[in-house]
């Protein structure tokens, strides 16, 4: 149930992200808030619940971003699995480690975006731009991870739960 609430919060973030970034004229340097939610799910949820959440969030992102159906579903689900895999092997306890993990996840998602576009989109002609923006985009997204984490943890605390927290305890 709480996973659904987190996905709903991600949905709200997606809804606000696009107009906010348009108003602030930050289209190219926009942080990927959905990816931050995915990293959060990967660190706090059991594999299948988190994967379903990531899939759903990808579905919504496809709707908001106007990308071909399945693009972000694939990217976010794959990013979720990879992050989950990484988190099982590496201990993440500080904000810096969290930002580094988000940076890597962002770089992976940009690469996936490139690969999927090349394979499935015949008219794709922005490969250079994707690689040019890969690092800046990851750098912009990483600092937002602690903020999103903080918000989601506050949100997670609302229903009574005994689950152990990874961060900010």
């Amino acid at each position: 149930m709480r996973t659904v609430l987190v996905v709903f919060l991600g949905f709200v973030m997606l809804a606000l992200e696009s107009p906010l970034l348009y108003q602030l004229r930050l289209n190219f340097y926009a942080p990927d808030l959905a990816l931050c939610v995915i990293v959060y799910l990967a660190m706090t949820r059991p594999l299948l619940y988190g994967a379903l959440g990531a899939f759903l969030l990808g579905f919504f992102k496809d709707g908001f971003a106007g990308s071909p159906m399945g693009m972000y579903m694939q990217i976010l689900t794959t990013a979720y699995y990879l992050t989950h895999y990484a988190v099982e092997r590496v201990t993440i306890r500080t904000w810096l480690q969290l930002m580094l993990l988000t940076f890597c996840a962002s770089a992976v998602s940009s690469t996936l975006f490139f690969l999927l576009s090349v394979v499935f989109d015949r008219n794709f002609a922005h490969s250079q731009l994707v690689f040019k923006m890969l690092i800046p985009h990851a750098l912009v997204t990483a600092p937002f991870a602690p903020i999103v984490f903080y918000l989601l943890q506050r949100f997670d605390k609302l229903p009574a739960t005994n689950e152990t927290r990874v961060f900010f305890e």
Binding site: F11, G70, Q74, L116
Partner: protein, 294 residues
């Protein structure tokens, strides 16, 4: 079979979650110009939400720009106000300079004409540097920046291109005092142009305005309102033909054995900035010769 599914549930679900988007992508790529049912449903969910969020963010931004983020506006407002002050000052200065320029040009033209027409006197330009204000009346004396060095003597006429101002009362060093026509001690021999009588123009001390009285001996019906009053030259102080003022109204009043009309001076004494002193040519030419002899 169910047992097998439960045991490898993670793998099955993961495979489905990872392959389904690829199928969507494939279908979407094949039918790029057609939206599937799923896509249409997704757009139906996201579009209204996006509209609402857009409106909210737009409203927040509007509030921020119009009511909160006014630091820049205040600074710009201050800067613009300062700029307006500077421009206003420059504009006033330009108007003043233009007015000075126009007045000085007219003064120069008048000086040239006067010097050409008169053999006995020549005009010397002087600036008004001070006003003698009495506590009870208007200014009746002004001080100019020319004195003995410029061969100015007491009694020399003082004029502008508009008309007679008065005469030199006192000369001290590099300065001289001018008694205005409106001073009650002032007397000028005048005549009414074109066919009016001759007489004397006498100053009249008045709190409200600068005014003078034209006095003559015999009653006349040849004087009308706005007739020009000119110097007659009979007092041998003012050259003949200089404008002194204008008849204020047709009413002539008798005072003893004199008759009088009120005359409005031609010169506006309130705006006096520069004047011309009409010095004797004889003096101008004589003095350097005397200096040479010494």
């Amino acid at each position: 079979m169910l047992d097998l599914f439960n045991r490898y549930r993670h793998i099955w679900v993961s495979v489905i979650l990872l392959t389904m988007p690829l199928m969507f992508l494939y279908v979407s790529g094949r039918r790029a110009h057609q939206n599937s049912l799923l896509e249409r449903s997704l757009l139906r969910i996201t579009s209204p939400v996006q509209n609402v969020s857009n409106a909210i963010v737009g409203r927040i931004r509007g509030l921020w720009n119009d009511y909160i983020d006014l630091v820049g506006v205040r600074r710009e407002n201050k800067r613009l106000k300062e700029q307006i002050d500077i421009l206003r000052y420059q504009r006033n200065r330009m108007i003043e300079v233009e007015s000075d320029n126009r007045r000085l040009l007219r003064m120069l033209k008048y000086t040239k004409r006067f010097d050409k027409e008169h053999e006995r006197r020549r005009a010397i330009f002087a600036r008004v540097i001070g006003w003698d204000l009495t506590p009870y009346y208007r200014a009746l004396k002004v001080r100019i920046d020319r004195g003995k060095e410029d061969r100015i003597d007491a009694g020399d006429p003082v004029v502008t291109y508009e008309g007679v101002v008065g005469r030199i009362l006192k000369v001290s060093g590099d300065y001289a005092e001018v008694m205005l026509l409106a001073d009650s001690r002032s007397r000028v021999a005048v005549k009414v142009h074109p066919n009016g009588p001759s007489g004397t123009l006498q100053g009249r001390t008045d709190k409200q305005r600068y005014t003078t009285l034209f006095r003559f001996l015999h009653p006349t019906d040849k004087v009308h309102k706005d007739d020009r009053v000119l110097t007659s030259g009979l007092d041998r102080k003012f050259p003949a033909g200089l404008i002194v003022g204008y008849i204020a109204d047709d009413r002539q009043t008798q005072l003893g054995n004199h008759y009088e009309f009120q005359v409005i001076p031609a010169v506006n004494f309130s705006n006096l900035r520069e004047v011309l002193v009409l010095v004797r040519r004889d003096d101008v030419e004589k003095k350097p010769v005397e200096k040479k002899r010494r």
